[in-house]
Symmetry: C2
Subunit: 367 residues, 2 copies
Amino acid sequence: MTKKLLFTPGPLSTSAAVKNAMMRDLGSRDAEFIAAVREIRSELVSLAGPGSDDYEAVLMQGSGTFAIESAIGSAVPRGGRLLVAVNGAYGRRMVQIAERLGIETEALLFAEDEPVDAGHVSEALNAGAPFTHAAVVHCETTTGILNPVDRIGEAVHRTGAVFMVDAMSSFGGIPLDVAGCHIDFLVSSANKCVQGVPGFGFVLAKRTSLLECEGLARSVSLDLLAQWRGLETDGQFRFTPPTHAILAFRRALRELAEEGGVAGRCARYSANHAALMDEMTAMGFVPYLRREYQSPIITTFRYPAHPRFHFEQFYAALSRRGFVIYPGKLTRENCFRIGTIGNIFPADIARLAAAVREVLAEAGLTS
Amino acid sequence: MTKKLLFTPGPLSTSAAVKNAMMRDLGSRDAEFIAAVREIRSELVSLAGPGSDDYEAVLMQGSGTFAIESAIGSAVPRGGRLLVAVNGAYGRRMVQIAERLGIETEALLFAEDEPVDAGHVSEALNAGAPFTHAAVVHCETTTGILNPVDRIGEAVHRTGAVFMVDAMSSFGGIPLDVAGCHIDFLVSSANKCVQGVPGFGFVLAKRTSLLECEGLARSVSLDLLAQWRGLETDGQFRFTPPTHAILAFRRALRELAEEGGVAGRCARYSANHAALMDEMTAMGFVPYLRREYQSPIITTFRYPAHPRFHFEQFYAALSRRGFVIYPGKLTRENCFRIGTIGNIFPADIARLAAAVREVLAEAGLTS
């Protein structure tokens, strides 16, 4: 029953107050629960930035991937064509989801260590048969790279296509002008930068684009428009909501506001990330990405060249000391990842770094 | 911040220890979390009764409806035909899900106050083009009626069709011999008779039937076979699991065992239900169902004939006193429901009844 700090992209470490908010059983039709859902939806919309009046927040049970599938499966019509710009596993997952749904999909592939290029997206959108929808990941958690959603949104907007953004690991932690980036559907989840517990995802949908989903959803459970209509009609979910995770999320949103909103949170994550980079590079670890592409969300490091380095041992030794890091997910290179989001602070980074030093010394891996 | 007792079909009242189990953030790849998932899956299988060796437990994020859609959408092949025996809203929901997925579906309709008749199911299965799959709800939460899953299973088995059972509100609370009833896929969820918190559902699948789902799933998120393969391969969920709800469920399963398993729990629910019937009929409330059709899970009562009875006021007055009951869901009759599952005991029923008496007296509704 050791308490461990999670340096992961979520589920992540949450505050004691967020967890404490789950110590009650509320009925899903209870007035207080309905008020909590209303507060959450309103607060999420306000996080979308200027122009957020045109947006609606729809909560969707399940993991973030369920919310992604809900958006794709509810928004792309039969006969629609989807372009997905891919530079990591989460871009590939959108392609997989769309193809499974029978949607004609084209993957525009980029290297995993390079941001999606808006110019190439523009070219692809303008070549051949028109695309009705285009999608990209904001912060590709595979590496921690940030994609230029503003310029990509501009390119998509010029073609009139609907723009869908997977902002799973960035929303709430990196300022994003959702309307300014011409985003029609933005998807994130409870257990990322808002620092709630897992159990549901959410979609910020431009109201006019959401209303165009009429009759399109391929699934009852993941029907985004029906879910919104349910929440609008009587404030209730159509199907059993994760009541405890919702109460935790309400508390998490209040803590986000207390920290100074997205800007305040981004400042802490940036301080976490800067401390991590200083510590890790001082120990000789080499980050995978060029610094200018790197988000403050999660950082990928190459395995040390030392022949005695074994990731599983390294991971386990840190875990025994109470620090949980994250394996890599690259297609070709041996890397591991360290997240800098959640209820962690620069002092925790210093403690993690001290543990890394200990583990390296113990394994005889210090140079 | 009043603590209320929930007399609802779930989310329901959970024990303090179940909620306390959520006071930790575990990484989704953490060894302890993986061990918790393994323990849960193994325990769920053992709850299936004799012959459970042939079954696999697959956990699925989202509400119970998501798990239902996962089973239907993963098991019925293109060209398959599904018969759903319907005597309430949850049977109708299976029809809606299957139709949305493009599955040729026939609804065999029964009155809401009569159990599904196995003979009629048999006739329908043998009339016209053959059905590949048949589905029924065990305890139809709409009314609280119990359907004879054993005799229906026998009828389905004789035709060779795959048998799917929505045991959402009964599994863990009413003994069921899953193999003996010839069930191929049984679906339930965390926040029902096992008394966990909402966040995921689960499917008990006959291994041979599960393996026949290869290439069939219409959804990536709700792909039951892929979810099982993920859990079997490295013990991990394919997509972010509701870690806190999982820890709560592990604790809930241990409490179920301590209570004497399904038989012990059923005894308490039956005592709750008997106490409720005594109290409510003594006050003049009329149950909707004939006693022999009634489960101990949830009971439907007709609105009193008194012209001053207003359900919303009745509900609100009880809620202010800390007792949450449940509205009706019948297509034609004005009823409300009272659940007798969750961490509630006959003494709680007595307290609820005292509150009902108070509320009736206050409103001048006593005869």
